[in-house]
């Protein structure tokens, strides 16, 4: 038992040494990798508990990090950037601020960037400001007793009379019918080809309705990373079995400029 305790201390020492070299940035060649590996190999038959084995794995991991550091060290030393750190420290201690900043100026190429508010964005901001109710009135509406903060669902929009259930259902079914008939003719349809309409508003509405069609499991989206295209494909599994699988959300950014570009591409 005491032997095992001593062995465990040896193992901990290897782990700690690797960690110190990694964190302190000292010369990784201070670690004798070969001797450490021989030691670990010799100690391995002593380990019985899971914690001991895990510590052994950690030591191996630490040694592999040291080997990587040694490789980086050699690469750096052989590169044109290598200068003895002690010599650099000495130079920095000897130079005054003016000389240092002069040297820096000759090696400095600052990034050039423009921060500007465009007239269109400014107009949107003014419109927003004009429509914004005073805080006292907004608080009255937003924080009435019992109200909770959260995103608006379709039900909320129906309650607010922005949308009617009949209308929404009808539009979704119509679009689903269109999608189904197109998917019968083709295996897959380009997402943008399908949602694109003559006006931006109509395109936006189609994109919104398609998101519900996809969420309901009537179809799904696939991405072609090589062509950077997104396709709508029919869902071949039942809704129940597909629901058991892990689903992911796919955000699709879309604005007026994008819509215009699609229109131009389509001629």
């Amino acid at each position: 038992m005491p032997t095992n305790k001593v062995s465990l201390e040896d193992l901990l020492r290897v782990v700690e040494m690797c960690r110190t070299v990694e964190v302190r940035g000292v010369n990784p060649f201070e670690v004798d990798v070969k001797a450490s590996l021989v030691k670990l190999k010799k100690l391995l038959p002593n380990w019985r508990l899971l914690d001991e084995l895990l510590l052994d794995v950690e030591a191996i991991n630490g040694i592999s990090s040291i080997i990587k550091l040694q490789s980086d060290w050699i690469k750096h030393r052989s590169s044109s950037l290598y200068i003895d750190p002690l010599f650099v420290e000495l130079k920095i201690r000897l130079l005054d601020s003016k000389t240092m900043s002069e040297a820096f100026l000759d090696a400095w190429h600052p990034i050039v960037e423009i921060n500007q508010v465009f007239p269109q964005r400014l107009k949107k901001a003014i419109d927003y400001w004009n429509c914004l109710l005073p805080l006292s009135e907004r608080w009255k509406e937003d924080f009435t007793p019992g109200s909770t903060v959260g995103p608006l669902e379709v039900d909320d929009l129906i309650k607010l009379r922005v949308l009617s259930m009949k209308d929404f259902d009808g539009r979704m079914k119509k679009l689903l019918k269109e999608l189904t008939s197109k998917l019968i003719a083709k295996d897959k349809i380009d997402y943008w080809d399908f949602i694109y309409a003559d006006t931006f508003e109509e395109t936006l509405e189609r994109a919104y309705l398609v998101s519900f069609i996809l969420t309901e499991g009537f179809a799904t989206l696939i991405n072609d990373p090589l062509e950077e295209r997104t396709f709508i494909v029919p869902l071949r599994e039942t809704r129940e079995s597909s629901a058991k699988k892990r689903s992911i959300s796919l955000p699709i950014a879309f604005d007026y400029e994008h819509w215009k570009r699609i229109g131009e591409e389509r001629g």
Partner: protein
């Protein structure tokens, strides 16, 4: 007839290149995200697969204005021709081409002391393989600057991206330094002084 038709096509091509050049300059100059610059894959998506040709053209136009397109690769300096994947992951910036003058420095709003502290930090980190404990840098800087100034400066360098740090308080060369500072020149100049 054919020549006319050919001439018209060439002009259309020129118009197209001009449009893409303008788009490229907009993408590179106007800050779109929190960090300046734009990734290669974004440029490819917007300008097309031959985006590097457009960047090359833009670079020659910018040269007249003492500006350049700087490509910073995730892998650090690349000696050979970069691969498509490396270009996709790289970040593209517009930087000033020739070094600034002392009067430019006055206008930039940087104090000489702060620039000297930045130069010292970068030189020390570079000499130690691109990483050094913050305490070591602080110790050297405190020989010339008061503690409060060293703390403020190091925090500021980290915030604006000249340096980065990890959970062990180890300092590294930051993304902005890799875009703006010619480390080799800096080291050579410091040692030559």
């Amino acid at each position: 007839m054919e020549e006319d038709w050919g001439g018209e096509r060439l002009s259309e091509r020129e118009v197209e290149i001009d449009r893409r050049l303008k788009r490229a300059s907009q993408l590179l100059f106007f800050q779109r995200h929190r960090r300046p610059g734009i990734r290669g894959w974004e440029l490819k998506k917007i300008l097309g697969k031959d985006f590097m040709d457009i960047i090359g053209l833009l670079n020659s136009e910018l040269d007249r204005l003492n500006l350049q397109v700087k490509v910073v690769f995730e892998e650090g300096n690349i000696r050979d021709k970069p691969s498509e994947e490396q270009l996709d992951r790289a970040r593209f910036f517009v930087t000033i081409k020739n070094p600034l003058t002392a009067s430019d420095l006055m206008a930039s709003g940087w104090r000489i002391d702060d620039l000297a502290a930045l130069a010292a930090s970068i030189a020390l980190i570079t000499s130690r393989q691109g990483r050094a404990p913050r305490s070591d840098i602080e110790q050297i800087l405190r020989e010339k600057f008061p503690k409060w100034r060293v703390d403020i400066n190091l925090d500021r360098f980290i915030r604006i991206g000249y340096l980065s740090k990890d959970e062990h308080d180890m300092l590294y060369i930051g993304w902005r330094s890799r875009a703006e500072i010619d480390q080799k020149t800096l080291m050579e100049l410091l040692l030559a002084k």
